[in-house]
Symmetry: C2
Subunit: 368 residues, 2 copies
């Protein structure tokens, strides 16, 4: 029966990641990598070639399952993350998402005026069925090896692409709208927030064991504008996303790239963990937010272009900047190792071997 | 006689900018704009068309003088900044700087291996004579209206372009070198630092009344790497740059874009003012560094795409986030208004009119 694994969950063989997200002690520091199922893996490129396009890959349950599991076959990572894109929600709103070869995402429709904003609505979640089917299929394929993370872009990050129509290096269109017509921007963000909450809840219902909000472009906002256009709507998403499913806690992670200056304010979010990029000092971040949140991050992905000795040294430095994590019963400061951004497509796969080995072995020593 | 104005300086009619840099009281908050002589001005585009290319413009004394003064004809700005590029120093090292139409800077030679690094040396300052001639000519043309700011890229920012060969969105090459061959990176940075110090001193000798180090890409570095590869070499530049010229103080400004997380460490630099981008809260920054440095910044350039009422509101918010500046004798916290990055080429010139008027009038009211 297709969906039965939701009713008869397989016990997790490795719950290190979930425990660390919930600030419980673990024997070592768990790790996973943003974009761990991606172009740096030859097996990913082979599946992608079969699928024909990025969206062809993401919308096909079998392919999405296959690529999600690929990095776990190579490396003893502590979590899987759904293979999908942060922009599926605006695509489901009818904006027409495509990925041209070698370029970033593009939307067929841009949202820049009153008429376009008026048309926006929380999409029927049935239009995202392919995502929930992938979650259920991946969960079954994982068979309890490691937990599965679901995700979405943040309301602000979705808005950046919806208004710009694609990537940007100055965010001129979206900021022009925010500064000149804040009423329209707030309307976009409210729709996005409600859509993202419904979307994450449906991923949880389908089997996601943790969820992460990628506020990839929160860091481009000015102080003041960040709180108003990004943080407030991340808060609105969190207010709508379930904290547990069938009696099991579902950790909620928020990652604002470039958000290091606002960590004290982010510490007030009702989530379990905060992702931080490489500009942040983990020790300082722990002092600011450590008593309320786990921290996730934050190696510069470019470290993976150096040799194994340098990778090991940088891993050690990162683990030590966080310091000794919580040990024993109850909760306390914990660290989930990750990169500070998605892994580069140019990364040599053997660098990841060195990284995973260094994180696991050195973090055990750190606890000894 | 061509260079006599260095020996017989015209008294400044408006020294508000210099006073604020030195933490002395002023009647209002002075302002200038990064890239104020630039493509958003039709008169700039006309001169640029005559010059044929960006470097044709920058290397011609008359054109460089003309475009430097253009924004001052339109707006009552409180400082002029030399029209030039942050990359003139590596060009003088023989790397071959060009600007293709609509693209960023490109170097003919990249510096990525031992052999290329070994060839680097502080260039003969005679190869930068066109810059010093422009400084002297602009100073004469200004005739004491406002002070003239000289500048250079920081050692790390120069290294980014020298290693990448141009702009980058991931800084993969320069970071790969930094992580895998720190010895080579330190050698590049040491040469750059000594070259930048000599270059700024020569600008001061030619007539620059303040100097600014643009660490445009310091913010892409990881915590730890920033201190090692950017901050240490900015410190080395400052150690080599004169603090006064013919008995007159020469304020030294350091701007690390994306450097807000390291302000406490930057407060230890031997300079007079720190530039900050729009992600920084000026009140918080003042609390961290206010007793040792003036602050310069930090409006998001995209505010200038909104209408005059919104521009005025954002200006007021920015001035008020800094708070009341020092008044009376002696020194204390001061603010130089600026954008948090260069003005966009798409900016409507009338937005700058609204900006300047709002800064001058509201900052007077703030002192009342």
């Amino acid at each position: 029966m297709a969906c039965d694994n939701r009713r008869m969950p397989v016990p997790l063989k490795n719950d290190t990641f979930l425990r660390a997200c919930l600030r419980q002690s673990t024997d070592y520091t768990p790790l996973w990598l943003m974009r761990q199922a991606g172009r740096y893996l030859p097996e990913y490129r082979a599946t992608r070639a079969k699928a024909g396009s990025f969206m062809g890959l993401a919308t096909n349950t079998d392919y999405a399952t296959e690529v999600t599991l690929q990095p776990l076959e190579r490396y003893p990572l502590d979590a899987a993350i759904l293979f999908s894109d942060i922009l599926t929600v605006p695509d489901a709103m009818g904006l027409g998402l495509t990925f041209a070869q070698g370029e970033g995402p593009k939307f067929a429709q841009v949202v820049r005026d009153e008429a376009a904003v008026a048309k926006l609505a929380v999409p029927d979640m049935d239009r995202l069925r392919y995502v929930f089917d992938a979650v259920t299929s991946i969960r079954r394929a994982l068979d309890g090896r490691v937990p599965l993370i679901g995700f979405s872009g943040s309301p602000w990050t979705l808005a950046c692409y919806m208004v710009e129509g694609g990537g940007s290096d100055d965010y001129r269109q979206v900021k022009t709208l925010a500064y000149s017509r804040p009423d329209l921007m707030h309307r976009i963000l409210a729709v996005n927030a409600d859509a993202v909450a419904a979307y994450l809840n449906a991923q949880i219902d389908a089997g996601a064991q943790a969820v992460m909000i990628f506020d990839s472009w929160g860091g481009v906002l000015a102080d003041g504008a960040f709180q108003q256009f990004s943080l407030d709507y991340t808060r609105r998403v969190l207010a709508g996303v379930k904290k547990e499913h069938e009696g099991v806690r579902i950790p909620r992670i928020v990652f604002t790239k470039g958000g290091g200056l606002w960590l004290e304010e982010m510490a007030g979010l009702d989530c379990d963990a905060l992702g931080v990029d490489w500009t942040v000092n983990l020790g300082r971040a722990r002092a600011l937010v450590g008593h309320s949140k786990a921290l996730q991050g934050n190696l510069d992905p470019n470290v993976l272009f150096a040799g194994p000795a340098q990778i090991e040294a940088e891993v050690r430095r990162t683990l030590e900047s966080f310091g000794r994590p919580h040990a024993g019963a109850g909760t306390g400061p914990t660290h989930v190792f990750n990169l500070g951004h998605g892994i580069s497509q140019h990364t040599p796969p053997e660098s990841v071997t060195a990284l995973v080995e260094a994180v696991h072995s050195h973090s055990r020593r750190l606890r000894a």
